[in-house]
């Protein structure tokens, strides 16, 4: 029964392929060639927890130099955080299995280099972006299946990020993380990293792999542990991008009776919606900005690098006392705002006060937790509300992940100055 269904499915695809216009058919033909030429340079990474018979995580890696494979940091980060409990090996397409060791990481861009006690031909890393629409072929192990090739097109870099990504229209699935995506002539354009579903897949530019290889070759970071490298990379990332945000100034936008800080298009993806329920005695506008970068600063959690949300609330119907009750509920609402608890961070500490932001008086609650494995990094949560409105106000939440406190402080200062009443 099961076998028949697969056969029928295969037939449908084959028939469809036969009817496709010739360029697509040609692309599918290339896929066959790519697979047969390069699949031997690609392997399946399996991360095992001590004592467990089956892998905890499956990903993909490919040869980029003699004895060195590249994969995603998130595939092997268990082995970086807890090497005594997690070990990793790679299964090559010829069925041979080899132990691997993580030798270098670029955590903010989600890359890792693995050393392997075996050699296969290294894939060529492209040094330039292909044309938009160029056909690309991705190799990997989707859902722990046998090595597969996925076809799609190149669509250039993605906005709203601190670290660049390419948009690829092939369907990447879990397990393909860390695999190579290449042009028809076999040069690697990027490393599979994530998907937003429906042919919306993302690649880390190959140029980042070259950079990591150069750093590793130059011996940068040799004296430090991998975790120290991760910590330093996040400190540098926040230095750079907070520096840019603060020096350029956060732009502001009008929202109801207020001006509120918003994001630079280059880094932040902003959207606004009206929350209007007929039964409610108030109106609310929601303005949200976030960076699509996710940071892995703990073993089990990934957080947005930066995000903030404003709720402008106003009511013609509620009395000032009742409005403040409503305002308080918005201010105190934590549903979905705080990441869960983790072994790698302290719990939160908070400071609060009524603060003169320059253009408006604000209640500010500033909370942070410290990463215990990467001690200079903090996850920061800022809840603020503009004070003094009888029937209107704005409650905001700012979250910064994996940042030194001093850098977060600079950004918070810039952000809090962006609130203003519009007369």
């Amino acid at each position: 029964m099961e076998g028949r269904r697969v056969a029928t499915l295969a037939l449908t695809v084959l028939t469809a392929a036969a009817r496709l216009p010739s360029p697509v058919a040609a692309q599918l033909g290339e896929a066959e060639a790519i697979f047969s030429r390069h699949s031997s340079s690609v392997g399946k990474v399996e991360v095992f927890e001590a004592g467990a018979g089956a892998p905890a995580i499956v990903g993909t890696a490919f040869f980029v130099a003699d004895g060195l494979m590249a994969t995603n940091y998130h595939v092997v980060n268990d082995a970086v955080y807890d090497p005594s409990r997690f070990s990793a090996n790679v299964l090559m397409s010829d069925g041979s299995r080899h132990d691997i060791a993580v030798v270098a990481v670029a955590a903010p861009v989600d890359l890792a280099l693995l050393s392997v006690g075996v050699n296969r031909p290294a894939l060529t890393l492209a040094d330039a972006e292909p044309e938009r629409g160029a056909p690309l072929y991705s190799l990997g192990h989707p859902a722990d299946l046998a090595q597969s090739v996925v076809v799609g097109t190149f669509n250039g870099p993605v906005q709203h990020r601190a670290s660049p990504l390419f948009h690829f229209t092939g369907s990447l699935n879990p397990g393909m993380s860390g695999g190579p995506t290449m042009t028809a002539n076999g040069s690697v354009v990027g490393v599979n990293v994530s998907t937003a579903g429906n042919q919306l897949s993302f690649l880390i530019p190959a140029e980042r792999v070259s950079a990591l290889l150069r750093e590793h070759g130059a011996g940068t970071g040799v004296a430090r542990t991998l975790l120290e490298q991760v910590e330093e990379q996040f400190v540098r990332l926040h230095d750079e991008f907070v520096g840019t945000l603060v020096s350029d100034g956060l732009p502001s936008t009008r929202l109801g009776d207020f001006e509120v800080p918003t994001g630079l298009d280059r880094y932040l993806d902003c959207s606004a919606t009206r929350i209007d329920d007929e039964d409610d005695l108030y109106e609310a506008l929601r303005h949200q900005c976030e960076m699509s970068d996710y940071v892995f600063t703990t073993q089990h959690e990934s957080l947005e690098l930066l995000s903030f949300t404003h709720f402008v609330i106003d009511s013609d119907e509620l009395s000032p006392f009742r409005f403040q009750t409503l305002y308080e509920q918005f201010f105190q609402n934590l549903d979905g705002w705080l990441p869960g608890s983790t072994d790698d961070t302290t719990d939160y500490s908070c400071e609060r006060g009524n603060v003169d932001g320059g253009a408006a008086k604000l209640r500010v609650v500033l909370c942070a937790r410290k990463n215990t494995k990467l001690p200079s990094l903090h996850d920061v949560f800022v809840r603020s509300a503009v004070l003094g409105g009888a029937r209107s106000g704005v409650v905001s939440t700012l979250r910064i992940s994996g940042s030194p406190l001093t850098k977060a402080r600079e950004l918070i200062a810039e952000y809090l100055q962006g609130f203003r009443w519009i007369e």
């Binding site: 005695l281 006392f321 009742r322 009750t325 705080l338 908070c350 609060r352 009524n354």
Partner: protein, 319 residues
């Protein structure tokens, strides 16, 4: 010298069951020819004799009892022993003590308990407390409602609260009934209503403080005022329910409330929610015009806050 002695036979709970006043000496036993007749099968017909000497010393002489005569601390009294005024002695299963007519009595007690109880038991007290509670609660409930405020909403809330009051007062009444024979439900209900009503304006004032000066100090003030109100409530109930003297009652009431607060705190420490510190930092809001709200400068606040956080988190990471 004073030779009049008073023998006080004590009941089970230590209160005096009967007194016999005698001149110079007293014979004690089960037989009817004694000065002090004891109805106790473990006491011999002629058990002991109590006498006073010229200098006022009290001497107890055991007439050869089967079960012995005992002084304070279970010391067995031999044939003739000196005992102190007011020492509790035992013969058989009967306890007694010897006083002199010159023995001073403690000062008269202030009947403050009676007054407290009286305050809550006056005819109009319950309706007044109920009306005051209803009025203040309705205002509070209205200001806390962010959806349409209807009489149905208010009545549902009130019904629930009145049931809670009835259960609370009922529990105290049951205790009072067991301790003193009278339930005094009306008094207990009045006390609960009066204290909760008084707590509402107090809570408004403390939240105004925490709104204007959010921080640990105002948290402590709120906590202290909560403990104060809670202690007052228990103190007043205890006054109606028992005869514990004022000072001890205050200590008992405060200890009960403090231990409840302590248990709550421990429960929070044993199983801490990660968001608990954040939750407790987000305070109340009140409609105060911006120009009346004291504020810190942005840099000053951020410097202080990040320094505090840094050292706090350093400690947390170290522990």
């Amino acid at each position: 010298m004073d030779r009049v002695i008073i023998v006080e036979v004590l009941g089970r709970e230590g209160s005096v069951s009967h007194r016999v006043r005698l001149d110079g000496s007293a014979s004690v036993g089960r037989a009817y020819d004694n000065d002090v007749i004891v109805d106790d099968p473990f006491v011999d017909p002629h058990a002991l004799v109590i006498s006073t000497s010229e200098d006022g010393t009290i001497v107890v002489r055991d007439l050869g009892t089967t079960n012995g005569v005992f002084g304070p601390g279970g010391r067995r009294l031999t044939e003739s022993s000196v005992v102190g005024v007011g020492d509790v002695l035992r013969v058989g299963r009967t306890r007694f003590r010897v006083m002199l007519s010159s023995t001073p009595v403690p000062p008269t007690l202030d009947d403050e308990q009676g007054r407290l109880s009286a305050l809550a038991s006056r005819g109009l007290a319950l309706p007044i407390a109920l009306l005051a509670f209803l009025a203040l609660w309705s205002i509070t409930s209205y200001s806390n409602e962010i959806d349409d405020f209807t009489v149905a909403v208010l009545l549902t809330e009130l019904l629930g609260l009145l049931v809670a009051f009835a259960i609370w007062a009922g529990a105290w009444a049951l205790g009072t009934r067991l301790a003193s024979g009278r339930a005094k439900f009306g008094e207990h209900a009045t006390i609960a209503l009066a204290v909760v009503t008084a707590a509402m304006p107090v809570a408004l004032v403390t939240s105004l403080f925490s709104f204007l000066w959010p921080g640990d100090v105002t948290d402590l003030v709120s906590l202290a005022s909560g403990i104060g109100i809670g202690s007052l409530l228990v103190y007043w109930h205890l006054g109606v329910a028992s005869r514990i003297p004022r000072l001890r009652r205050g200590v008992v009431a405060t200890s009960i409330v403090l231990s409840l607060v302590g248990v709550g705190y421990l429960a929070g420490t044993i199983d801490p929610e990660p968001e608990a510190p954040v939750q407790s930092a987000l305070g109340a809001f009140l409609p105060v015009p911006a120009e009346l709200i004291p504020t810190a400068g942005l840099d000053e606040f951020l410097d202080d806050a990040t320094n505090e956080l840094a050292s706090d988190l350093e400690d947390k990471a170290a522990s």
